[in-house]
Symmetry: C2
Subunit: 336 residues, 2 copies
Amino acid sequence: MTSGSPRPVTLSDVAAVAGVSLSTASKALNGSTRISATTRARIEDAARRLDFRPNALAQSFASGRSHTVGVLAHRATSTFSHPVLIGAVLRLGARERAALVYDGDRLDRNRVGESVRQLSARRIDGVLIVGDGHEQRTRSLTADFHAPVVYAYTATDDPDDLCFLPDNLDAGVLATRHLVGLGRTRIAHITAMYESIAVRRRETGFQQVLASSGLTQVGPTRHGSWTEEWGARAIGDLLAEHPDVEAIFCGNDHIAFGVLGVLERRGIRVPDDIALVGVDNWEGVILDQGTRRLTSIDLHLSEIGGRSVDALLDGVMLTGPQYQAPSVVVGATTGC
Amino acid sequence: MTSGSPRPVTLSDVAAVAGVSLSTASKALNGSTRISATTRARIEDAARRLDFRPNALAQSFASGRSHTVGVLAHRATSTFSHPVLIGAVLRLGARERAALVYDGDRLDRNRVGESVRQLSARRIDGVLIVGDGHEQRTRSLTADFHAPVVYAYTATDDPDDLCFLPDNLDAGVLATRHLVGLGRTRIAHITAMYESIAVRRRETGFQQVLASSGLTQVGPTRHGSWTEEWGARAIGDLLAEHPDVEAIFCGNDHIAFGVLGVLERRGIRVPDDIALVGVDNWEGVILDQGTRRLTSIDLHLSEIGGRSVDALLDGVMLTGPQYQAPSVVVGATTGC
């Protein structure tokens, strides 16, 4: 853009270049059949050469569509909601839709009604509800809108709602398969509180792979919190009881980092003596540079936002939870 | 919302309730003076009682304004751009504006022209450009738009551009004042590469406070990278040369965590023997629970996004860089 401030090309410009009246140009570009083929070709050629873009606002008004999607972000300040929300607004932009984003306060304070009225006044084309990843099913808001509604990173109490979610079961499966694939047979699991559905799904995936591989879990699953502190404490107990453990599937990366710190301090070689896998690909989020230490499972939260937008705009006829496939990101804790 | 799916109240509803024609209702609500005061009052009363919201899309079209702001997100996937971008879209939503967000690929690939044309066709009310916090001044895009342009988290090569930035100088000042306020006099600085403007600004703030407090820096500033690895390496050298150091200002939280790990392993008490301050309030970003360990400087990146939006919508007449005041968040590494 070295040409300075561009005045948008208007239909009048096109008409002038094509040597026709404004109304003829309008008819031709709106597909009227009452224009001769020659004239139409001349007008279309002028529009192409001038890079004519019809006024999107006028088109929106004519079509009754705003090309705007309402986004209700529940607790948008939650760290893990960030990539979902950003994945959503970027996909909307890539598809030439604007996002009208209301923050979670309105949901928390049961002020959804106000958001619904505002969004209805905007004649939005659809509504995307972005959750905070907590496992409680949220109340369905679908009936509150005339426009289609899709949910990202939250499940609702209505089985007909279309909800895009991370696949925590498959996260456990992938992590454990990865460790088994390294030839480890003595594998333990350190994770967060049993009350979390994500915790239980990851654990189920872990145990399914062990069972299908003919392996027995080393010790019981150790339930605590999502913190480094818990990882550091749990690995101490695990090593005291099972010094021959060969691999640990950690419920998230924070737990894994706590485990890793203790192993390093004790001079236990990672991955030679003990291999480690976490969940969240946290280093992928925070690393601008430096070497990846931890092998982790990436839940592809940003893609959950993107797929939700695609489903909303494409009007897919799916219902119920849709699980986003995770993937293994290999770091030094299992790398060769 | 227990009332099910609401049909938006229309102007016809208002006219019917007020017992006037559609055109009279329209004139009254559009401020025409050719309606009697009594009739106007009756129509306004009906509109209020029905909670009538004029069709925002039709209003937009009539006013020539889209109530949509274009957001060009340069490298939006950068971790530190996330809070800026989310702060911006939430503030836009709070002010009833939609965001049309284009991702950084278009900037990277010099395809800004395409974004400009798309945004012009939308008749957007303004443009917010969200940078990636890197210190290189980006090329000004202001002249490419008819609408007002504001920059968040990036500076441009045009001194007339309005740019909202973190205050890295004040970050150094606050961190060092905090350490001096604890009574520490032997203070060192471990930070990232000298080439970074943020590094040099934070260092300048550090040295200004030392000078004004009559203190001398312990050893030279140690320049490395933004990583834990660098923090762990640098603290080893620092302790070897200056075992009597009492406090360390770390250029960011990753460096501080690297330092903290080494101090803990060596049994050096934090903060009793050595107090630590980082920058970024990283634990504020990642912590859903658990105890805050690190004292840090919060640069308030989300507020940078929010203030940029306010400036854009309010049409403030400022030019040049505007610095967001940071604040100290006290954790265990300086806490009492």
